[in-house]
Amino acid sequence: MENYVFDGSFEGLLCAVFNWFERRPGQVKLQTEAVFQPDAFVPCLHIVNEREKADRVWKGLQASLSKATLRKFYCTYLSELEEGYTALFEFACYLFIEGAAIENNYGNAYVLALSKIAKKVEREKHRMEAFIRFQHNADGIYYCGIDPDFNVLPLIATHFKNRYADQQWIIYDLKRDYGLFYDLSKVEEINIDFNQWQKTTGIASAIVSEKEGLYALLWKDYFKSTNIQARKNTKLHVQHVPKRYWKYLTEKQFKQD
């Protein structure tokens, strides 16, 4: 048994796989620096990131996996879960040892883990596509702040770019402190200094556009009048719209009324 410690980057993860095949140390435990606790009796190896090695592993994965599985691989990485990193590492080792199409062997714990974690991430991605509520700012930009459980910004960029091609928008991940800005031609990663901006999911009412209040109000009205009292089913409602997302949702904010 040996501990492998990497920096949490995608490159680092791929390098760990490369390293394992270089050294063949038997059973290893992969962890990120963030959670790693040194153990006096277990040897430990800090993975050094090398672009070339990472590229070789990535090419190897691309050559032997279907597009769908590659996407699962990437999504699992974006989960930022320790067990996700372990699953990816073990999955990649298993794949290169077998050297055959094992990607659909759902009887294997790591193949299944990949598929399950990726599904969680995809669900979060889909929910962000649904639950993002832009506010139209006085400067003409549509803004939304989010703090998703998983790092889904890379997954939703294209969706919003295709959809809102004729308006400028910002989607900002407040938890990870980076965002996407679309300037009518391309999407860029940005960092905002929130010492000047109020760090809330909503932004100060002074900077929203003139019509913003009206449409937010109309949307809340619509949400209420489309409900059918006789069919009230709070359990189902909360199941579909978990409470942790309510802070994103205009229709769930009642203070202004």
């Binding site: 094992i102 659909n104 062997n105 759902y106 009887g107 294997n108 299944l112 889909h126 596509e129 649904a130 639950f131 993002i132 509520r133 832009f134 506010q135 139209h136 549509y142 939304c144 969706h159 295709n162 959809r163 809102y164 091609a165 004729d166 308006q167 019509k211 009206l214 449409y215 937010a216 109000l217 109309l218 949307w219 009205d221 619509y222 949400f223 209420k224 009048s225 489309t226 409900n227 059918i228 009292q229 006789a230 069919r231 009230k232 089913n233 709070t234 359990k235 189902l236 409602h237 199941q239 579909h240 719209v241 949702l249 205009t250 229709e251």
Partner: protein
Amino acid sequence: MSERLREKLNILADAAKYDVSCSSSGGNRKNDNKGLGNSHASGICHTYTEDGRCVSLLKILLTNHCIFDCAYCVSRKSNDITRAAFTVEEVVELTMNFYRRNYIEGLFLSSGIFKNADFTMERLLRIVKKLRLEERFNGYIHLKTIPGASEELIREAGMYADRMSINLEMPTESGLKLLAPEKTHQQVTQPLGFIKNQIVQFKEERKLIKSTPKFVSAGQSTQMVIGATPETDQEIMQTAALFYKDFSLKRVYYSGYIPISYDNRLPMIGSQPPLIRENRLYQTDWLMRFYGFHVNELLNDANPHLDIDIDPKLSWALRNLQHFPVDINVAAYKVILRIPGIGVTSAKKIVQARKFGKLRIDQLKKIGVAYNRAKYFIKCADSPYQLKDYQGSQIKSFIQAESQSKYLKYDTSQLILF
């Protein structure tokens, strides 16, 4: 000005909420004109009402003025309610501004009938044309066809809408006659047939000439009100099956009747809508569309009603124990799909995974099979040897004892209304 708009929205959203179609899927309109919107192939639900229904589209009536007097409808002529009508501009502004804020996937536009069918249809057409041509809107548009509107108007509307629908209202002609004497099923089948033929024709032309525009690319749907008239589940699903077949519908929706009128032909105000029955009908619909069941297997003269306490797939399996147990390590995909407790996703995973070796119970559980339900109907690598052949009724009671159905706590029989 904005107060009046709020009032209109409240009235006309309230009146439209009984249309249950909420789908925004199946469209394939691409944002290639640098405009607003791009239809997502699988559709997106942007929120859910407090009754748990999905909100995907801005679902409104253009007006709730109506020349008809159908007993089941809130907007019927004889109902004493506040009336309102949107202008073309108002609908367009609302749609664009809601879409820009990512509140909705698009517009579902229906209408009461003012003056006559063509007058109303022409207004609906003006709205979709303005959205598509002036505002460069590529979001989803579901347009209600107005019964009796002329074919030219319907045809033109189909060039701009993603989906069109027209409601059957009641599952049988006799039911419809009882509650809406002015309407017939023929008024619905005629435009359904017309649109279906147009869809086929446009597709043929597209094969030859690439630039042929798309026509109702997300297909057609319809809706039936359930529980207002005394049809059996068999009659309802047979009507649905027939419409799927004859008009290639994408969806049939079943809407449990919510009493809104003191008319003595209808269930009393305050009586509970038949939610469980509605749910069972949707399950049956799914079994027909995705699980390869024929309607007669699920509902027939011997079983004209769906069981309320168990789902239709389990119910079918218990009546047909001769097909079980199924060996999941060798059986065909289609056979596996028919096992209670196994859905489409698990069935596909089983077929993939068994290539790598015989599957065991623990693997099935991890794949996502509802094993406590499926175990009575399957054999796998380590199935325990069983001496006894259980009766269907025994299996049913075992499963019910183990499951925590949300329905068990309710009274299990539906009220008889007539």
